[in-house]
């Protein structure tokens, strides 16, 4: 079990795009994953306000959901996104780190179902939520 968690962490941190966005895996295991992404000017979507682009939040959601699937005890190996829906509640406050936490709440032999929430320092008001279906790759 420990090996798989370690493998997932290494796998996530080896992803070139996760590195390019400055993603950090802070927790993983038993179908749950948490990822942090520090504020960076290159991720800005609205130059007027300095608010991070929704796309960067989406990339983080997708990575975090994939990590949650791979850490699930019933997932034999890798995964790929089948579909992902993202709802934006509000703009992330400029300058603050964004944290995403994802849960794989159900898994079958071929499909994993995941949901995720992203917040900034004001953890009670979500920035965005996501839900999606992922493949379960057979070994």
């Amino acid at each position: 079990m420990v090996d798989k968690v370690e493998l997932a962490r290494k796998f996530i941190e080896a992803i070139p795009h996760a590195k390019a966005l400055g993603m950090r895996l802070t927790d993983i295991g038993a179908g749950n994953a948490q990822i942090e992404m520090a504020y960076d000017k290159k991720l800005v979507g609205d130059p007027k306000t300095g608010v991070v682009h929704g796309g960067a939040v989406s990339a983080m959601m997708d990575t975090c959901c994939g990590a949650a699937v791979m850490s699930h005890p019933s997932a034999p190996g890798g995964t790929a996104t089948i579909d992902l829906r993202i709802d934006y509640m509000r703009a992330a406050t400029p300058g603050q780190t964004i944290r995403t936490s994802a849960t794989c709440y159900h898994i079958t032999r071929s499909v994993a179902f995941v949901r995720a929430t992203a917040t900034d320092d004001d953890a009670d008001r979500p920035v965005a939520t996501a839900s999606g279906a992922f493949t379960v790759e057979r070994r």
Binding site: A14, I15, P16, H17, A18, K19, A20, K41, K42, L43, V44, G45, D46, P47, K48, V52, H53, G54, G55, A56, S58, A59, M60, M61, D62, T63, G66, G78, A80, T81, I82, D83, L84, R85, I86, D87, Y88
Partner: protein
């Protein structure tokens, strides 16, 4: 009644291209991903220039699903903003020459979107085109398709909902 003489083609092209540039170039994240927009008349095609930093699975290798989502979302929001501004671009009311990145008009905001991943994104350039399914006073619905080598073999598609910017409403009081 004789119709007015059409404007010279260079003037029209220059104004449209300047407006598109003003919409796209000021956004750091669009530059970071390497997205560009090509224009034919009012039709836009988004281009995602491949780069190693876009990879999500180094073993295949394949483009990161988050990059694909961001590419589709950017294509939808720029296409919607473009359609929303088009009448003002044509009339000359929207003149990017006279405004900096700070003075751009308020643009639509994403409410939500759903991405379908149809094939893995290969390590090469990708293209996308979005269409406005409906654009109302407050909300808009859009669809977008993305492909790589073959126009008929989509690697991803998405649909999304957007909040339109508040218009200067006439005072009803």
């Amino acid at each position: 009644m004789s119709r007015p003489r059409p404007e010279p083609i260079q003037v029209v092209k220059q104004r449209r291209d300047a407006a598109l540039k003003a919409l796209v170039e000021g956004v750091p994240y669009i530059r970071f991903l390497g997205i560009e927009f090509e224009r034919r008349g009012d039709e836009l095609t988004a281009l995602l220039n491949f780069d190693d930093k876009l990879i999500g699975n180094p073993f295949l290798p394949a483009i990161h699903g988050g990059v694909t989502a961001a590419f589709l979302e950017t294509t939808m929001i720029i296409t919607l903003s473009w359609a929303y501004l088009w009448p003002d671009i044509e009339s000359g009311a929207f003149d990017p020459e006279k405004m900096g990145a700070e003075d751009l008009p308020r643009l639509p905001k994403t409410i939500n979107f759903t991405v379908d991943y149809l094939r893995s994104g290969l390590p090469r350039d990708a293209y996308a085109r979005a269409t406005v399914s409906r654009s109302g006073r407050r909300y808009a619905s859009m669809r977008v398709e993305a492909w790589q080598d073959n126009r008929d073999k989509l690697f991803a598609q998405a649909a999304g909902h957007f909040l339109m910017p508040p218009r200067d409403a006439p005072d009803n009081g």
